[in-house]
Assembly symmetry: C2
Homo-oligomer: 168 residues x 2
């Protein structure tokens, strides 16, 4: 058996879709651990590292900032989450963010579908509908339903930015 395959930074970039510069940048800000080097100083990556980079890329898609990723990577990298209860809370809360983000996204999809499908014979919708609202989320099929859900997620400040100007 071969002693575990390794990759250059270029190969790693190709495999992950993250640019070499960005990978170095992640190392620079210590989001990634310092990669091992060959004798000539070149970085070498293993499958494990590629997985980590993919995880970063994945989390980025959820709108998580690089800073907030650190704890995730910690859990991912070493083992047992149960040993870091604080972290677990952190993560669980981000899970909720994501779930609500999915709802948000599904609503945009519904909104788009609505716009695209209803085509023309619509006169006024502008008063209550275009909050891209709905609530059921399923996968693909173009959903008709647009049930009135309170767009609670709208103002309740999802995650980005600051809290909504001190709610009275």
């Amino acid at each position: 058996m071969m002693a575990e395959q390794t990759f250059t930074i270029k190969q790693t970039a190709e495999q992950t879709g993250i640019s070499e510069d960005t990978i170095r940048y992640y190392e620079k800000i210590a989001l990634l651990p310092r990669a091992d080097r060959k004798d000539n100083g070149h970085r070498i990556y293993r499958q494990e590292d590629i997985n980590t980079i993919r995880l970063i890329s994945c989390l980025k898609k959820t709108g998580m900032s690089l800073e907030k990723m650190r704890p995730f990577l910690a859990v991912s990298a070493d083992a047992d989450p149960a040993e870091y209860p604080e972290l677990v809370e952190h993560i669980r809360s981000h899970r909720e963010n994501i779930v609500s983000q999915i709802a948000s996204l599904q609503q945009v999809v519904d909104f788009i579908d609505m716009k695209l499908e209803e085509g023309r014979y619509r006169r006024d919708y502008s008063d209550e509908s275009q909050d891209c609202v709905s609530e059921k989320l399923r996968g693909e099929p173009k959903s008709k339903p647009v049930s009135p859900v309170e767009m609670s997620y709208f103002s309740v400040s999802a995650k980005t930015g600051k809290p909504p100007a001190s709610v009275k």
Copy 2:
């Protein structure tokens, strides 16, 4: 009947969760149309404007840049999408983006669930699994199964189509 309710920028900020500064900024970059002013020059907003701002906020959550929102807002603001076929294509394509983003997000949720639940009795997963992939999702709050996504979104080179080592 009353001649349509209007709001100050402050009220609008409160209702939408978008700061006054940001609302003015959106106007400055013409993402929002120039708001009407009162005699004293203060901006006034109507329900329609608030809806538009909410739509922006909504689209932002889907990771869309302000620039790419412009066409969406055009469709939303005035009427019939069927009149702008180019736009419709644009939007349809973003819809696909979002759908795949939902898949992405669902996988992160699954990944988190996996990590949180398997708790400790897991030895190694680090070689192939932590691409935050999985495909089952037992009920939690609401969502049912979403879709049997493969990790195609993980960059063009989705290498081995190997199913995740059947988590759990």
